[in-house]
Symmetry: C2
Subunit: 230 residues, 2 copies
DNA sequence: TTGTTTTCTTGAAGTAGTTCAAGTTTTTTG
DNA sequence: CAAAAAACTTGAACTACTTCAAGAAAACAA
């Protein structure tokens, strides 16, 4: 039901220029209001922004207009190695992995992303250089995306968003440091149990072999840990 | 010689209220001008900021006034585990390591910092929570430091610095991702040679055992790699 | 529902690293 | 400059993981 409405009312970049969407008469906008308040998952990004900085309703609408909804099928790539990353994605629904192909041709997961997370290769996005990374949908995925140009425009129009993005990246960076900490201080088994305790629901969502590579051991070893055979 | 002058003219936070320093008469300020233009390493931070955003001379002086020069002896700690990190440091001269004590009581380096780098535990600094990390001077160290409160004030006074700090952190985050990439795809020996090729001058500056832990292998193994005995 | 693909399991053999302990070299300090 | 401290080296024994190969189970598509 939710999903049906979501698709039906799906708002694209063009909404920015759609007079109905921005019409001030509340009756005429009823459908959209309902959509925005009760159903629209796009609302999540506004809530997320408002956790870090203030943003009133009018601003929120304009901010939203800079984003495009983009959906991906399971296994579809959002970014491929050697391509330049020209979008930043905010995950509305679903799950992605950020991975590389190592020298033996095995895919190694560096990061996962779930609802309300930003995902992109910041270096490639910022400096428009080819990426070393792949980003792939693990589940059917709904995102809000913004390209490099719109992103610049958005930040120029709302400089206070600089603060929002600074804080978002700061958090990601912090998480990345803590991750290295865990890789360095825990044994394979400890890393698995730690992950298991911290994110019990999450580990249900991704194939074991991806989790194994994220925790930096082989899928076979994961199997043995789970079976208590180590 | 340089060092002597540096010490002699060392500018502290109090400079903000020092009428001589900000006096507009160029003759009276000659010493300081000379200092600022030819000797003052504080200038480096301004140059660094100007690489990312525009900043005129008047602004630069005010920005500088928010910082304090702080020096550390070799081995001195800038931040200790379990303390809350309440400063952000910009390194003028010297070298630091960002490390943890692992479960076996061995110190494991997660990051190095050299001239023109920012170093702090961003999570602890931002959310004022106890840090998991230590930051230590590896060489005699000169920094510019800014505390949490001054940092907030600075950003409020110059909102465009939000962009600067966003870009700085973005770069650090990118570097951290690339680092994990290397850890995952290269063997110990490859990681060493890669580091050797990329930063030949840097590896001269730090003890081998710190480098070994940064590259995630034992000091003994480093020794064997270097001797070609592996 | 059935066939196909993807994911997970298991044990045996192998290896890239660690750990330990003792000695040597280099750097720092008074 | 000598003494002390810190950093580096070496080889032998060990181990936490990997790799391989083959089969079982689960998920997916037609």
């Amino acid at each position: 039901m939710k999903k049906f409405l979501w698709k039906k009312f799906s708002i694209t970049n063009d909404s920015r220029n759609n007079p109905i969407f921005f019409h001030k008469n509340p009756v005429e906008r009823l459908g959209f209001l309902f959509y925005i308040i009760y159903i629209c998952p796009m609302d999540e990004i506004i809530k997320h922004i408002q956790k870090f900085i203030s943003l009133n309703n009018d601003e929120a609408e304009i901010v939203l207009s800079y984003f495009k909804t983009e959906t991906f099928k399971k296994k579809q790539l959002l970014l491929q190695e050697n391509q330049t990353c020209n979008k930043q994605y905010f995950i509305i629904k679903g799950c992605v992995r950020f991975y590389i192909n190592n020298t033996k041709g095995i895919e190694q997961t560096l990061q996962f992303g779930i609802e309300n997370w930003w995902i992109t290769d910041y270096l490639s996005f910022q400096y428009q250089t080819p990426s070393h990374f792949n980003i792939q949908a693990i589940e059917k995925l709904e995102t809000l995306s913004i390209d490099r140009t719109s992103f610049e425009e958005l930040l120029e129009r709302f400089p206070k968003l600089e603060k929002y993005f600074r804080l978002v990246i700061q958090k990601s960076f912090g998480a990345s440091q803590v991750r290295i900490h865990y890789l360095f201080t825990m044994s394979a088994e400890e890393r698995f149990h730690h992950m298991n305790n911290m994110f019990p629901e999450f580990i249900q969502r991704v194939p074991q072999y991806m989790l194994a590579s994220y925790l930096d051991f082989s899928p076979e070893f994961m199997s043995k840990i789970r079976a208590g055979k180590v």
